[in-house]
Amino acid sequence: MRVMAQLAMVMNLDKCIGCHTCSVTCKQAWTNRTGMEYVWFNNVETRPGLGYPRRWQDQEEWKGGWTLKGGRLQLKSGGRVQKLLNIFSNPKMPTMSDYYEPWTYDYETLLNAPLQKNFPVAQPHSLITGKKMNVTWSANWDDDLGGAQEYAHKDPMLKGIEDKVKFEFEKTFMFYLPRICEHCLNPACAASCPSGAIYKRAEDGIVLVDQDKCRGWRMCISGCPYKKVYFNHKTGKAEKCTFCYPRVEVGLPTVCSETCVGRLRYIGIVLYDPDKVLEAASVEGDQALYEAQLGCFLDPFDPEVASAAERQGIPADWMDAARRSPVRRLIQDYKVALPLHPEYRTMPMVWYIPPLSPVVDVVKETGFDAEDQANLFAAIDTLRIPVEYLAGLFTAGDVEPVNAVLRKLAAMRSYMRDINLGRDPDGSIPAAVGMGEEEMYEMFRLLAIAKYADRYVIPTAHAEQAHSLEEIATDCAVSAYDHSGEAQPFGVGSGPEVRIAVEDLRVRTARLKDEG
């Protein structure tokens, strides 16, 4: 048995209020740079909706991820030779218009306009061409079902249930889906990279792009089914979510998690057996993939796993973190978290607790008691549309696991109401979903109360590498940038790498001169 540790995330969708704070803080931290204007490592999509880039889930169109061909796992867009033959023009690469053309406003006219009859207006200008433009799309254009009547029926996940979903204001259902890179166990982006620049870190499973090895062949961008690798059009290199590795290495949660207003994100370690990944990713039938991926995970309490981990050099504090991992509990113990699109066969590692709220809302509107488990269970069984839609996202269309999760959440709601109202807790409620009372209470604590230290159990990187964390971390595109704004000989970002300390000195000197 081989044991590897993976930093994973779980998002509790019931708690997401769609405020985009995660997106904005992530952008400020990572993609607030020229060449990356259109990029959101973290984005929040309204569902049903088209997502970002538009219709990214339609793999018949984009050919991202893996597929089974004759029982063998193959990149959906073709094998290695085909990739190399397409290298001069990637046929499946999204263009800027599939994301959106980034823009800004000429705010100066507001201040500089001469006295005139009409109030001056700041007009939108393209950040790409500099010309005036009409803003017609963005990363969250259909936010809160805005324009849903026009757009939402194009949501690829509505295929097959489109006639049942109504987009009239009162009759529809809606929830938010925050997305980051999945840091997959079987990453299709890495497999697509001709240069071998994308790698999975052996210690924590974070998938990174080596900025010095990337040659801009663009195959990762089409290879990733989640469309979470982006092309920096100024530097000509691929960039992606880094799981904020400079932060998690010192035990801090990612920026998106740290700033999450709803506190819906959980970060922790999951142990898995890398030798099982290929087999699990190659199982027949898309709906078997959720169970297959669960089968790759290892139990840190199992003494055999613990001794194998020790032999393979996984530090004791990492094992301890794996045992306390909130992510492991939600995925492996309570089984309330589900992977996003397991049918892409990349074995994603950012999992989601599907939202019960569409169901609760409907029960509430009918005037019935939305805290009562019998009502909720009945609603879960009858409300096929939200459940089928969720199943399309999380279990390749298999409604059973989604039903099971929703029933657990409904049971928890109902069971905890009795406790909160000072009534005798009803042990039959957790038993109805196969859980013990203690277990249900622990799950409630983790989902509802979840203090900072419980949500983020992140073991620090080991000090033997501490010296390298800041200065040698070349994969951090930001640090490889020259911030001075001077023209570089071979285009933006070219030239030798500037060490952070040196750069810092330059910035400070410049500031002193400015002030002087």
Binding site: N186, D212, H462, F490, G493, S494
Partner: protein, 251 residues
């Protein structure tokens, strides 16, 4: 003058080519990329780029055969002069036309699509000028030898090729190039100038052709940088601070 053009100049260009690449790789790994503009525009690129690149692969293959294989070798395996030329000119015309049409499309795209034009550096423009000139001259030479039958009076395999090979033997014979038609002379000189420019342009991506992709495992695992001899405690010890161990003693 002849020595300057046909001996000194090629060596200077090649020296810049070699040292330039070494320097660029050492100092500018981050800038070493194709600088693709596909994100901006796809409709022209999807025709122009494959046409140009596959055409260029053919052109380079043709030059390897024409310049590096001595005439004696093809004669030895019984390929007659006329057969050789039919193939060379036919292949050359097809590959050259592909490259030329592709280049025209790409340059047109670069000039007319504003986002692409804005992403064009001065170095790109200089490079396009030289590259375009070399390709145009090359096509003209091939075309002229077919249509004007100038090949009957001039055979580059007995003049240009031995001179070119001589550069690598260290004995280039400038006299071989003096009688060569002007088109060929210019083609060769501009090509060497392009070699000198090469390391300072996006052309460096040619040397990143990812052939290793065909054999490497799909998913690459890499460790955080670990340097031997750093640290204390449960990490690798500093140099000179290794703990005594029976395992090491037994080695």
């Amino acid at each position: 003058m002849n020595t300057l053009l046909w001996v000194v100049f090629p060596y200077v260009c090649l020296a810049i080519f070699v040292v330039g690449h070494w320097w660029r790789y050492k100092y500018d790994k981050f800038g070493w990329t194709t600088r693709s503009s596909q994100l901006y525009e796809d409709n022209l690129l999807k025709w122009g780029s494959p046409l140009f690149h596959f055409g260029m692969l053919g052109v380079v293959g043709g030059h390897i055969i024409g310049l590096l294989l001595p005439k004696g070798w093809t004669d030895a395996i019984g390929i007659s002069e006329s057969t050789y030329h039919a193939f060379a000119l036919g292949g050359g015309l097809i590959a050259g036309a592909m490259a030329l049409v592709g280049l025209v499309m790409l340059v047109y795209r670069r000039r007319t699509v504003r986002s692409v034009f804005k992403a064009t550096t001065p170095m790109d423009k200089v490079m396009y000028l030289f590259l375009g000139a070399v390709i145009l001259l090359g096509c003209w030479n091939t075309f002229a030898s077919v249509v004007l039958h100038s090949s009957e009076h001039f055979n580059y395999r007995t003049t240009v090729s031995p001179w070119f090979r001589g550069i690598f033997y260290g004995q280039p014979d400038a006299a071989l190039m003096t009688g060569v038609p002007l088109g060929f002379q210019l083609h060769a000189l501009l090509a060497f100038a392009l070699f000198a420019l090469w390391p300072f342009t996006r052309l460096v991506h040619v040397f990143s052709a990812p052939l290793g992709y065909l054999t490497r495992p799909y998913v690459v695992y890499r460790s955080r940088d670990v340097r031997a001899g750093a640290g204390a405690g449960n990490r690798a010890p500093q140099r000179g601070w290794e703990r005594p161990s029976l395992d090491d003693a037994r080695k």
